[in-house]
Assembly symmetry: C2
Homo-oligomer: 331 residues x 2
């Protein structure tokens, strides 16, 4: 296989440059092995805990890389994006680090905690409808008005390259690895990881995991070209977006397989990550693990890593039951 | 100050030996910085995430060190202990690693998840009343019957030394540190950490944090000798036990100060650890952070580390609200 060749939007060198560029501004997240889960599933399981990343998601990597890659002249005019949440907060944070303006379009059904995160970096989001088209149109208008550079949540090459640094760290952290599970929404994280892994260690299998309720990447792989989403109601809000035109060719060329997971399975994976791994995963952050759980028998005795892509979860009105040792909330 | 002198139950050398002895059997847990919490509290905050340790608590360290320190002859007769939970699971695990029997006494009000954890290592706990006296008596009987070695949850020197390895790692992980917050129940973790820190970096302030509802260490420091608990109902179930006769002299000699925290404050700290740091802390595991939150103004601009001592929390009948992005449970 010819991996990460020039025909793709990014190369291994882009990811290595990104690693240098973002080092001072991102968390080198831990790869955490788990005995209880490993015993239960019959394989050696490690979680790459991007929920412990700044802004609570891997998105901090791509956003910092994109913003720090801009020329001084371009940077001065600011950056603009559209995102259901974590990329929005990540871009607001990255822009603040460089001291430049950020314009952020968010779907009106974004989670309140993600809206609050954007505001915490001094940026007031502009709201729009949930479809890809509505998001892109609102961002394009803001871009025209401001002259800011569009930092797309997954199509911008510097964003994909930044997300790919997850894989470089993982290869340094886990010496023997057979398989890696990665969630796919727009495909930026998956594309970045695929280019890194298949360039350096092509024998490691990389599996995409996608909610059944957001199965556009599965349909795109079957059709041979990017297909739009048909619904926007998966609990995994970060994966409601359709796979990108620039990420898809990388995924199509390099991914080993794709697993679809049910809503039930995503919720159950979140719970296991909390109870057994003591980490908070948001629904999208638990999707890759759901893919492993549903297919564990295929990986018996193997060493597998699972990306927990984000951990931004609103505990709402929950309180902790006294002497009951449970999280409890009003119904 | 003469630190960690021979008059104490353990020395720095004991902790360094423990670090070697347990290295292959424990997680080198991450020290995780957090921008959101640091900004809110006005100091640089890092969490030493012992909730990500095997058995979900620092107790894995002391138990492995104690079991691996036994002679072959003593080991053959097994180990015995009493514990409200995490030490019980940790000892069962350590005994299994060495292939020896473990006898475990647990208070009958121990949390179900902690009882299940002991059973998962093939050990059936013996239940008793919640007072220190009841626990000690039941363990003594088992010890007499079996000839097993008592591995006390905090009084055994090898246990204290094992827990002290948390501090050795922390000093390697965080180059500049002004203060460290540590929960205190029986005092094994606190004593081990105090000996390590005050031997190597005496300028770092070490603060104990204790629930108001389990204030025996505060009263012991005021009285100059170990005082028994007066109640056993704090939500921080791991800290209901009284401070030890062997841990107390170390704490008395070396601790910089002790903070008491309310039940409300513990629950609020758990929630912030989940929402802002994306980690699951059990109530005892959130106590040290509650101590920092209540006293943050004293640490403005400083670099502080907080031990999250454990993460074993039962989510009971909780489910995750669809599209509400919250954990929800029946009331």
């Amino acid at each position: 296989m010819s991996m990460a060749s020039k025909r793709h939007a990014i190369t291994l060198d882009d990811i290595r440059s990104a690693e240098q560029r973002i080092a001072d501004h991102v968390v080198r997240t831990p790869a955490i092995t788990n005995e209880v889960i490993s015993k239960r599933l019959g394989c050696q399981v490690a979680f790459k805990a991007e929920n412990l990343q700044h802004v609570g998601a891997f998105k901090a990597r791509g956003a910092v890389n994109a913003v720090m890659s801009l020329s001084d002249e371009a940077a001065r005019r600011g950056v603009v994006t559209h995102s259901s949440g974590n990329h929005a907060a990540a871009l607001a944070r990255a822009a603040k680090l460089r001291g430049i303006p950020a314009f952020v379009v968010m779907p009106e059904n974004s989670s309140p905690i993600k809206i609050a995160a954007v505001r915490s970096h001094g940026v007031q989001p502009v709201f729009c409808g949930p479809s890809t088209q509505q998001r892109e149109q609102a961002a394009a208008e803001l871009q025209q008005q401001s002259g800011a550079t569009l930092i797309h949540p997954f199509e911008t090459p510097a964003v994909m390259a930044g997300q790919g640094t997850v894989a470089l760290e993982l290869l340094q952290q886990i010496s023997h690895l057979d398989a890696l599970f990665v969630p796919v929404g727009g495909g930026g994280l998956l594309a970045g990881i695929l280019v890194a892994i298949k360039s350096l260690r092509p024998e490691i299998k990389v599996f995409a995991v996608e909610p059944e309720f957001a199965d556009d990447t599965a349909r795109s792989l079957a059709a041979g070209s990017p297909q739009p989403p048909t619904r926007y109601d998966t609990v995994a809000d970060g994966l409601r977006t359709g796979v990108g035109d620039h990420t898809f060719p990388i995924i199509q060329a390099l991914v080993d397989d794709l697993f679809l997971v049910s809503e039930e399975s995503i919720l159950s994976a979140m719970r296991s990550i909390a109870e057994d791994a003591h980490l908070v995963a948001e629904p999208s952050g638990a999707v890759a693990y759901a893919g492993l759980v549903e297919n564990a028998e295929r990986f018996a005795g193997r060493s597998v890593a699972v990306i927990i892509s984000g951990g931004n979860l609103n505990f709402g009105d929950c309180s902790l039951g006294r002497n009951r040792h449970v999280m409890s909330c009003p119904p």
